[in-house]
């Protein structure tokens, strides 16, 4: 368990992942589920980036020609997370437009009420 305190960044990251997961499960409003999804993604990216961080080393930008690997942190997770952040923005934008389309039609964002509405609308007809 002492390892948990040494890798505390990863522990925090996965706690964020679980908080996002719980928000996704327990909130009915679609916007809140989206916030939960974003927190989940941020948690995974924090987990990945903190894997690359090495204490006492500097950002991976070459300074005055010093190419020794001991000076810089691991650049690979940083490049992966840069790709990931843009993925989560585009997914958020698509889900927001979906929820707007839903809201225009059913005037609520609570998926259970929407199902009831979809069925009740059919009974009216």
């Amino acid at each position: 368990m002492e390892n948990l305190f040494r890798n505390y960044e990863e522990a925090v990251a996965l706690i964020l992942f679980s908080i996002g997961f719980m928000t996704l499960l327990f909130h009915k409003n679609l916007l809140r589920k989206l916030i939960g999804m974003n927190i989940m993604d941020s948690g995974v990216y924090l987990f990945l980036a903190s894997m690359g961080y090495i204490y006492g080393r500097r950002a991976p930008i070459v300074e005055n020609g010093d190419l020794s690997a001991e000076r810089y942190i691991n650049p690979v997770p940083a490049s992966l997370v840069l790709t990931g952040i843009v993925v989560s923005v585009s997914v958020t934008a698509v889900m927001l437009s979906l929820s707007i389309r839903l809201y225009e039609r059913y005037h609520t964002l609570d998926l259970d009420v929407i199902y009831a509405a979809a069925r009740s609308r059919r009974e009216h007809r």
Binding site: M22, I35, N38, A49, I85, T92, H107, R121
Partner: protein
């Protein structure tokens, strides 16, 4: 000097968890969106402390900036559509009252 930044990083990580739970457990949607914007701002500072400046700039511009604005625009549109009552009560509308 070095362990000072470590201490700040630890404090910010704790602040991250607090803001995440606050965004999760906020009663209304508007405060949740605002707290979420602050969450991604803190995340941008944490990226800077984790020695990856590219991520800090991207997260600040994209997380707090664009996602926050998009969430707020979507929230405002729904507020407009339901006649100014764009808050959480929408979710609790019962079946017959809502304008199907």
């Amino acid at each position: 000097m070095a362990d000072f930044t470590e201490a700040i990083k630890a404090a910010l990580l704790v602040l991250l968890i607090i803001s995440a739970t606050a965004a999760a457990t906020a009663k209304k949607t508007l405060p949740a969106i605002i707290i979420f914007s602050s969450f991604s701002l803190i995340m941008a500072v944490v990226w800077a402390l984790l020695e990856s400046p590219d991520l800090a700039i991207t997260e600040a511009a994209v997380g707090a900036g664009v996602s926050g604005v998009l969430f707020f625009m979507a929230y405002r549109r729904m507020g407009m559509m339901s006649g100014g009552k764009g808050d959480d009560e929408n979710g609790k509308e019962d079946d017959d009252e809502h304008k199907g």
